[in-house]
Symmetry: C2
Subunit: 423 residues, 2 copies
């Protein structure tokens, strides 16, 4: 194992004897200790980290200036002057989180522990332009803030998850299969100017993986894969307790892995992609054919009632015992499982979390995914493997989008910037 | 991004206010700075890290006691007493590295920068028992040490790469397809007792990836995949500048990804595995059939000459313009490229390094792998991707096996142990 990754990398990246980022890394580490403990003194911080008392004081000053740390009471006396205790300032601000799906828009006001304070979830037409979408989200956010009595100055940032490949550094969608009109649109810049605060954008599966890592089934797990099964299919990868984005930010885009040599066209332009064969639209398409051809009476009835079918309808029909619906879901699960099996053989995680709209069709999908995963993966790689459903469901995206902001807010880079600005 | 991964994880893992591992992490960080610089004073270390002078002195004492750091000269005077400079003690010991292939055994004596001082490479019959193999390696190592004038007390550890899935923590092969007689044999324990020093064992592709990271094409690259194409096929994954082993230590085992629905049996018991269809043995099998059936005169001639064919023969024949040999290599490269493309779509690395014996058959294999990779991967994931051959060739394994030992020798855990032993 390499030594002390965080500090080392920073030093390498910032030149030979550059002190600031190393200092900011220490400050970020101190913030983490304060966040994880219920009151800790400066002397204890010095003892835990080995940093000098003056360095600790300097970093605590910076964190207090950032409104992230406050003093709260004193330690039990052990003789001499009582030590003041430091605490994370949970009420030091709020973040706005936005989770854009192919058929829905969720906006939330979250606290500094990524906990949703107020949430708005609604159906949304993905054909809306980026500008319309961002304006709509901003109006919803304003309503949430107003009803919670939060004003603009308290907002630390806005985070957003979008369905498609994101170039994380620029906050831009690149060649999306679903949000076609959004290609190369500078989402992060637009959010920043519309909301008047720092903005961060990432792929929906990455954002949901962050949510699971922070507050869901992935909490405390070093290496896991989160798979979103919805209108599209994508994965978020957590490696060593951190979200892994890859060299260009598109790690985990398993929806466009070819699963067979079929000529089913995918929205991405290729044929035989997992997403084209197993995601929500593929499930609905097969079910509608079964309804029209009359092979499933239940599906025919539902189609007559709703005008069209969704993955949710097919899940309901399967629960009611419709064998055609059950088979459609099973086929989809098997294909998804085949691709996940390859990812498991390559990545050997300890956990796979299945989430997203289609994953809520019932236990049948999870069972089929598991069947495929255990049959196709390397036995050593599945010996201790857990494959389970998301425990956060609809909240994974909004919690994750809040975490996107918090990880930046608490990062050495941000702290280094504050140190530089004030010196 | 998470904050200061190294330190944070240590603190979490070792309980609330446990100081030792945090101290050892700092000491490991100091060692890294000393290793990376050409003479650095205690005052400079304090300035770079923010650690107090007394903490620095304490850690430097530990590192001196470990024989890893020494004083060497003084800094230019800036008035007052001249500061003594600290340096990494390059001659502070040696490590033995062993690279076991399916047809070869390499043993080397390396310095503390993983540089081979003396090397022995020979053909080897993989049917030998683990005990015989380890005895043989030990005898070779003794000869190398004797001729280099190095005695046992100078050996810091022994590292070994083996072709098969390794449970890293126990140093045991689990269900190997090639080294069948080695299943569950405690290799690390056997090495430790035979060599009388700490021993570490890992999968051959992981070890070669470490070699590339330390001294080859992967130097300074954060995220890359090393693919070994030899008798077997496997990959080593580097993530965030560190070797990634996965939850059970078997990450990167791409040789057993199913590439088609063919019924070609793999040594692992499954059918259609990449290794069964594209590795050295598959190439040789197809070539021997072409020789027997008379479709290639060159191959028939080589087979008559050697009694059998190897991947090297087919490479030679292809270079001489034999279209059958070229097609066999191209087919193999296409299949390998298909699997690498899936890994790229999932992992989005910035570099893929191709190494191992079969990769030396010529540029044709690399070209076919590249063709497949660029056709099948997500465009965003290959935009900045480099696919290249190993620059270390045969040395990747022995350098990597040395690095295996050095990473443990320089690790916070090892330093914590020394601190605990001396207090």
């Amino acid at each position: 194992m390499k030594l002390s990754a965080g500090m080392t990398d920073s030093n390498q990246r910032y030149g030979k004897f550059h002190v600031d980022i190393s200092g900011a890394t220490s400050a970020a580490h101190i913030l983490k200790i304060i966040r994880n403990h219920d009151g800790v003194s400066r002397a204890e911080l010095s003892r835990i980290t080995g940093l000098s008392r003056s360095t600790i004081s300097q970093h605590v000053d910076t964190l207090q200036k950032m409104g992230l740390v406050c003093e709260s009471g004193t330690a039990k006396s052990t003789g001499g002057r009582k030590a003041r205790l430091l605490q994370f300032k949970k009420d030091g601000g709020y973040v706005i989180s936005i989770d854009l799906g192919a058929t829905s828009l969720s906006v939330a006001l979250c606290g500094l522990e990524a906990e949703p304070v107020a949430v708005d979830m609604r159906d949304f037409d993905v054909a809306a332009s980026p500008c319309e979408t961002i304006n709509r989200a901003q109006r919803i956010a304003s309503e949430l803030m107003e009803s919670a009595g939060v004003d603009q100055s308290q907002i630390r940032g806005v985070g957003m998850g979008v369905p498609g490949p994101i170039e994380f550094n620029s906050g831009t969608l690149v060649g999306p299969a679903i949000l076609r009109g959004w290609n190369r649109y500078p989402i992060a810049d637009a959010l920043q100017s519309r909301f008047g605060c720092p903005a961060y954008v990432d792929n929906d599966a990455n954002v949901m993986a962050l949510g699971e890592l922070w507050a869901g089934a992935g909490k405390g797990v070093e290496d896991f894969i989160f798979v979103k099964v919805g209108t599209g299919i994508g994965a978020g990868i957590v490696c060593g307790g951190q979200l892994y984005r890859g060299a260009d930010g598109c790690a985990g885009d398993i929806g466009h892995v070819a699963v067979d040599y079929s000529d089913v066209m995918c929205a991405c332009g290729n044929t035989g992609c997992l997403e084209a064969l197993a995601a929500g639209a593929a499930i609905a398409r097969r079910a509608e054919r079964a309804a029209v051809e009359g092979t499933s009476q239940i599906l025919a009835g539902l189609m007559k009632e709703h005008g069209q079918l969704t993955a949710k309808d097919i899940g309901l029909a399967a629960l009611k015992g419709d064998p055609v619906s059950a088979e459609i879901i099973r086929d989809s699960g098997r294909l998804i499982g085949m691709v996940i099996a390859k990812a498991i053989t390559f990545f050997n995680p300890s956990l796979v979390i299945i989430g997203g709209g289609v994953s809520k069709t019932g236990d049948l999908l999870l069972a089929s995914i598991r069947e495929s995963v255990y049959r196709r993966s390397l036995p050593l790689a599945t010996r201790n493997l857990l494959v389970q459903s998301s425990t956060l469901d609809d909240s994974a995206g909004i919690i994750g989008a809040a975490v996107l902001v918090l990880e930046e807010l608490f990062s050495p880079n941000r702290i280094a910037q504050v140190i530089a600005d004030s010196s």
